[in-house]
């Protein structure tokens, strides 16, 4: 049987269980006297064990088995876990995780599990000896099984001399011989009363039961029938009835007896990532072709063609909605890895941190979620490392000793906001102002930094290394990474920070990357797409009075100053002088606005977002490109970059 086809399914499911283990361990660690999480932990590890055994991953199976044995002691006795045991289980979970990943990659030989196995066995021994009546052996019996009750209408088991002596030898390779022996006894009981079972039923279940058993059977069935009946219990090597040994027929694989089925149906409820991506690409092309069809239909003015075009348009929209839905993934799939990380980091830094996650069920396109891991990791690390104070410092500030970090996802109409908030010391702006003045982020005379300016300083590449002495050392690197990644995803970052109270970073992202509605703007003979998510309105240049604010041209829109960006100049578009009356597209992101001046509006349409390899020097105002209905590429403007 080819197992490789199951490897991905194994990996995906094992990862899920291992992630659940982390959550359950954290829960257990918070309250070691509550055995609640143990059952779930046991089940998760047990499932991984069973799957790994099936895949033939011996190392994974072995470690999982030891963890399971240790957990089983707690499951059974419900005594509180020591700090030491929980730490060991965390490490064991990590080792198991690594073993899973390496095994799937075919790198089983690199596994070094002896140490963790020894520790687990050691701990199991200690826990077992501490527990009254505890056993070190693996997975002891939950309730002592009652021995098969001899059906003895003629009297109690005290009449062993009656009936024929039957001896059964199980195949040496038979697993769980005790269970098999029980099935043999069951079969025997279907023929008549059974007495004097040796070894005794409890001994049959012992690990050292060798597979030979004997009993007396009170039955008139002929020896051949007795034998045939007992063999039906499976894994029977030899049956001897009444002292006369009956040699068994040659074994044959039962699989041969079963007709090979012609239909193999797959019942996966998971879909391979790559298949989803491929499907998305196809839908993308379909949307492009649909756009072309609509254009042609409009030119033809043929009602029949029009009807088909409209129908295709509707069908492809439905298809698109479905496929986007299939790509949606709840954020917990990413968020669940952070509690453990925060805990480890807090321990390492000797801080007390309560970590809260909100909005776990919010969904994002899988492709976006995959890109969020790194930025969030940086921001969370910063929150614990630089935001949250030590318990002593917090007390001096009149705060509770335990700091709080909150990771929250909130759905806003067409975007999702993910925030990382801490109630720590906040960012000391006076320390950063100097640097901001030097870098020209603010004017030399500036006395204060806005949140926005602060973010821009923090996001400067290399900021942190230069300012390592300050209380925000390290922030820059993370913010830099996060900001770049958000740009690439068509998202933005916002920062709010208050000295002594804490900081909050908000990442705003489109719900899906793949297909967005966009305004198509013309500049000279070039076309650019602007996702509608960030377009708040369009106005006409000339109707709104232009002024100059801080040296920049701006318009005043309902008492708010909106600086203008002339796309023609920004992008260096060649060509004839633009008409006097031109549209201004007002983009807004995280409370900041800008008016983008273009030559003309070419309409609205759905565009398929594609990435392109931006050569060196490419202006940092594009989040990707798309293919228009006529097959020619157009670049997509990034609102964040324009602001």
């Amino acid at each position: 049987m080819d197992l490789s086809q199951y490897a991905e399914l194994f990996l995906a499911e094992a990862r899920e269980h291992l992630s659940a283990c982390n959550q359950l361990l954290l829960e257990w660690e918070r309250n070691p006297t509550n055995p609640g999480p143990v059952g779930g932990l046991f089940r998760a590890v047990h499932t991984v064990k069973g799957m790994a055994a099936t895949m033939g991953y011996a190392g994974v199976t072995d470690v999982a088995h030891r963890i399971e044995s240790l957990l089983d002691l707690f499951r059974r006795n419900a005594h509180p876990a020591s700090e030491e045991v929980i730490q060991l289980l965390f490490r064991a979970r990590d080792a198991l995780h690594q073993a899973v990943e390496l095994s799937v990659e075919g790198r089983e030989r690199e596994l070094a599990l002896a140490e963790i196995i020894a520790e687990l066995d050691d701990a199991a021994g200690r826990v077992a000896s501490a527990a009254p009546g505890g056993r070190v052996s693996s997975l002891p019996t939950p309730t002592p099984p009652t021995p098969p009750t001899p059906q003895a209408p003629g009297g109690p088991a005290a009449a062993p001399a009656q009936g024929r002596l039957v001896r059964v030898v199980l195949r040496p390779e038979a697993p769980l011989k005790g269970g098999r022996a029980l099935l043999v006894l069951r079969k025997a009981q279907s023929l008549g009363a059974v007495y004097g079972v040796t070894p005794s039923p409890p001994e049959l279940e012992a690990d050292d039961f060798d597979g030979s058993l004997a009993f007396r059977l009170e039955s008139s069935a002929p020896a051949e029938q007795v034998e045939a009946t007992l063999r039906a219990a499976g894994d029977v090597e030899q049956v001897t009835v009444g002292g006369a040994e009956v040699p068994g027929p040659p074994r044959e694989a039962a699989s041969g007896a079963v007709e090979a089925g012609e239909v193999v149906r797959s019942r996966h409820t998971r879909v391979d990532r790559r298949r989803l991506d491929a499907l998305m690409d196809l839908i993308g092309e379909l949307v492009t072709a649909r756009g072309r069809l609509s254009e042609l239909a409009a030119e033809r003015r043929d009602p029949a063609v029009d009807d088909v075009a409209i129908q295709i348009s509707r069908l492809s929209s439905d298809l698109q909605t479905e496929i986007i839905q299939a790509r949606m993934t709840p954020v917990w799939q990413l968020f669940d890895r952070f509690p453990r990380l925060i805990r480890d980091l807090a321990r390492e830094l000797g801080k007390q941190v309560a970590f809260r996650v909100e909005g776990k069920e919010i969904e994002l396109d899988r492709a976006i979620l995959d890109e969020l891991g790194d930025p969030l990791l940086h921001l969370l690390r910063n929150a614990v490392d630089h935001g949250i104070e030590t318990a002593a410092e917090r007390r001096r500030q009149g705060k509770g000793p335990e700091g709080e970090v909150v990771l929250a996802a909130v759905r806003e109409h067409s975007s999702v906001a993910i925030s990382v908030a801490d109630d720590g010391r906040g960012i000391d702006r006076t320390r950063i102002l100097e640097r901001a003045r030097r870098d020209g982020v603010v004017e030399a005379r500036a006395e204060a930094l806005s949140d926005d300016q602060l973010l821009r300083v923090l996001a400067r590449p290399g900021f942190s290394t230069a300012e390592r002495v300050t209380s925000v050392s390290g922030r820059g690197v993370g913010v830099d990474v996060a900001l770049t990644r958000m740009r690439a995803l068509g998202g933005s970052i916002e920062l709010h920070s208050e000295l002594g109270k804490g900081s909050t970073f908000v990442l705003r992202l489109p719900v899906t990357l793949a297909i967005v509605r966009a305004l198509i703007a013309g500049v000279g003979r070039e076309r650019y797409a602007l996702p509608l998510t960030y377009v708040s309105e369009t106005v006409e240049l000339g109707t709104a009075a232009t002024t100059t604010v801080e040296g920049r041209e701006a318009i005043v829109l309902r008492d708010r100053v909106v600086p203008l960006v002339h796309l023609r100049e920004l992008l260096g578009v060649a060509g004839e002088i633009p008409p006097a009356r031109r549209p201004i597209i007002v983009v807004e992101m995280g409370g900041r606005r800008a008016g983008v001046v273009v030559d003309g509006m070419l309409g609205q349409q759905e565009i398929v977002v594609k990435s392109f390899d931006a050569p060196q020097g490419t202006l940092p105002v594009f989040s990707g490109a798309t293919i228009m209905g006529d097959g020619i590429p157009a670049l997509i403007l990034d609102a964040g970059g324009l602001l």
């Binding site: 060196q616 097959g631 590429p633 157009a634 670049l635």
Partner: protein, 149 residues
Amino acid sequence: MSDAGIVRLLLFRVGGLTWAAEATMVREILPRLEPTRIPGAPRAVAGLINVRGTLVTVVEGWRALRQPEPPAGTQSGSTVLLQVSRGRKVVGFTVDEVTDLVSVDGAALDRRQALPGVDPSLVQAVGRRAGQLFVVLNTDALLTPILAS
């Protein structure tokens, strides 16, 4: 390229010279397509084209090879899709004309040679065909710096 053995080369003309690229690096030859400009990109980058739904960056051959600009109005020519960075990326390269696909003995090619007006780091070898010189390009050395992001 090995010193010995048969090497297959795609010959093409850009400006006044004939150039060659190893056929194993050539993915496809397309007619010249009008690219979409990428603002801010180096001058040698012509822009993006759509190759069956995939966006491909195109490098203007005459600029990259420092050849004279073709006279205005000659919009014919071809775009050769080349694999760069060990096959990880595909890049378009505009040429005036694809002239031939030839098999030559690797031993018959001269290792890197100084040629007037040609950056020696781009020259992998020099060969001759029907008395005419052709320059075997190190396409990675030519395209990678232009496209570095």
